[in-house]
């Protein structure tokens, strides 16, 4: 039986062979168009998945339907989307966490774009720099913060943009307060800097304390160096930390020579064991005590000294042994 007859029978016996042939050709054309469409869509999806398109000879039309690549990729996309949703949820949580940390940080944080315009800042930055200002978002950093038309010479932002790496600036002064400034670039996937994060740590109190300590140290050094008593301090391992001028004069050493010496080198051999045992007891917890021994000068002369030894503790551990001595007075 001819195909035309088959089609004619399917059509209910009406019409002739030509009509049937035309219907068959229409059906075949429609099927070709459907498979062309399916292959085009399969190839589109395969390309999105990052692989090569199907070659015409690779799969017959029948195998294409049986393999169901559109179904496979659709199921895979469902997993991709599920994973993206999970990732978005984690990112949202991480962002909230980060926002909370930034908001409550004890340092001022300002984010500026590559044109130096302020994009965001935290509460501490507002408290430090923008207390009296209305919203400074969008304003150039040098205008809102430094109050100048152009960036200052030691501008952290400009250094970050020039070097393209993180920069630390110490002791930046603003309104009579001192700050350590750290600038960190944020780059896009092409390596271009899109934002710079500036972190301001207020070091004013620390700096004042350091200045006070430095002043005190200078004052005590002056007092010690002008004292007639011989003053010496040792680290717990016996190395010299300080010797005043009276000590250096009496023993004949220059101060820079003291670093090469150890306490046993300076004690007369007849008194060495007892003196070192005494120092050990001071280090062991007997925090201070009267001390008498005979030192040896650089020229080998015996130098009987007496006085006071004390031990400073830090966190209950010895940190410094201090001798304040004078020539022994004969009984």
């Amino acid at each position: 039986m001819s195909i035309g007859k088959k089609i004619k029978d399917l059509l209910g016996g009406e019409g002739d062979d030509d009509t049937a042939r035309r219907e068959l050709e229409k059906l075949a054309a429609s099927e070709r168009a459907a498979f062309t469409y399916i292959r085009r869509k399969v190839n589109q999806l395969l390309t999105i998945m990052g692989t090569l398109p199907l070659r015409p000879e690779e799969l017959s039309d029948q195998t294409l339907l049986e393999l169901d690549p559109i179904g496979i990729i659709a199921d895979s996309f469902e997993q991709v989307l599920e994973h993206l949703n999970e990732t978005n949820e984690k990112l949202r949580f991480a962002e909230e966490e980060l926002q909370a940390i930034i908001a409550t940080a004890g340092v001022g944080i300002i984010v500026v774009d590559s044109k130096m315009r302020i994009q965001a800042f935290n509460l501490k930055a507002k408290e430090l720099f923008f207390r009296a200002s209305s919203d400074v978002r969008g304003k150039p950093c040098h205008v809102a913060l430094c109050g100048s038309d152009s960036p200052p010479p030691e501008c952290t932002f400009e250094k970050v943009m020039a070097t393209r790496i993180g920069i630390q600036l110490t002791n930046w002064v603003y309104n009579e307060r001192h700050y350590d400034v750290a600038g960190t670039p944020i780059k896009n996937k092409y390596g271009d800097i899109t934002k710079v994060v500036l972190i301001y740590t207020d070091i004013t109190d620390r700096k004042r304390t350091e200045d006070t300590l430095r002043g005190n140290e200078e004052m005590y050094r002056t007092i010690f160096d002008n004292a007639s008593d011989l003053i010496l301090s040792l680290a717990p391992d016996g190395s010299f930390r300080y010797a005043n001028q009276a000590w250096c004069r009496a023993l004949g050493y220059r101060r820079e020579e003291m670093g090469d010496l150890a306490l046993p080198d300076l004690i007369h051999p007849d008194h060495r064991d007892a003196s070192l045992a005494f120092v050990e007891r001071v280090l062991a917890g007997k925090k201070n005590g009267r001390f008498a021994t005979v030192f040896l000068s650089k020229r080998g002369e015996a130098l009987p000294l007496e006085g006071h030894v004390s031990c400073s503790l830090v966190n209950d551990s010895p940190s410094l042994v201090c001798f304040i001595l004078h020539p022994r007075r004969d009984p």
């Binding site: 496979i72 990729i73 997993q79 994973h83």
Partner: protein, 79 residues
């Protein structure tokens, strides 16, 4: 943990990826729960990129090891 092995040597892209995707879809629940690992043996170098990329986009952990004359791509639950 059960290791399911698939030898797809002789296949090239995109068939390699379609086979791997089909198995990842079929064993989706067991993969995510860590009950199974899927190991694909392939001698198609492109597949060592396309399959791991797709698996990573779906949230799975992937490792690729080179053996004598072929590669083994192992897919398992992600972190």
């Amino acid at each position: 943990m059960k290791l399911m092995e698939f030898d797809i040597r002789g296949q090239i892209c995109p068939s390699t990826l379609l086979i791997a995707l089909k198995e990842m879809n079929l064993h989706r629940d067991a993969l995510r729960s860590g009950e199974v690992q899927l190991a694909f043996k392939t001698d198609n170098r492109d597949a060592t990129i396309t399959i791991p990329d797709a698996a990573a986009n779906m949230g799975y952990g992937v490792s690729v090891e080179k053996e004598e004359g072929y590669y083994v791509i192992v897919i398992e639950a992600g972190q």
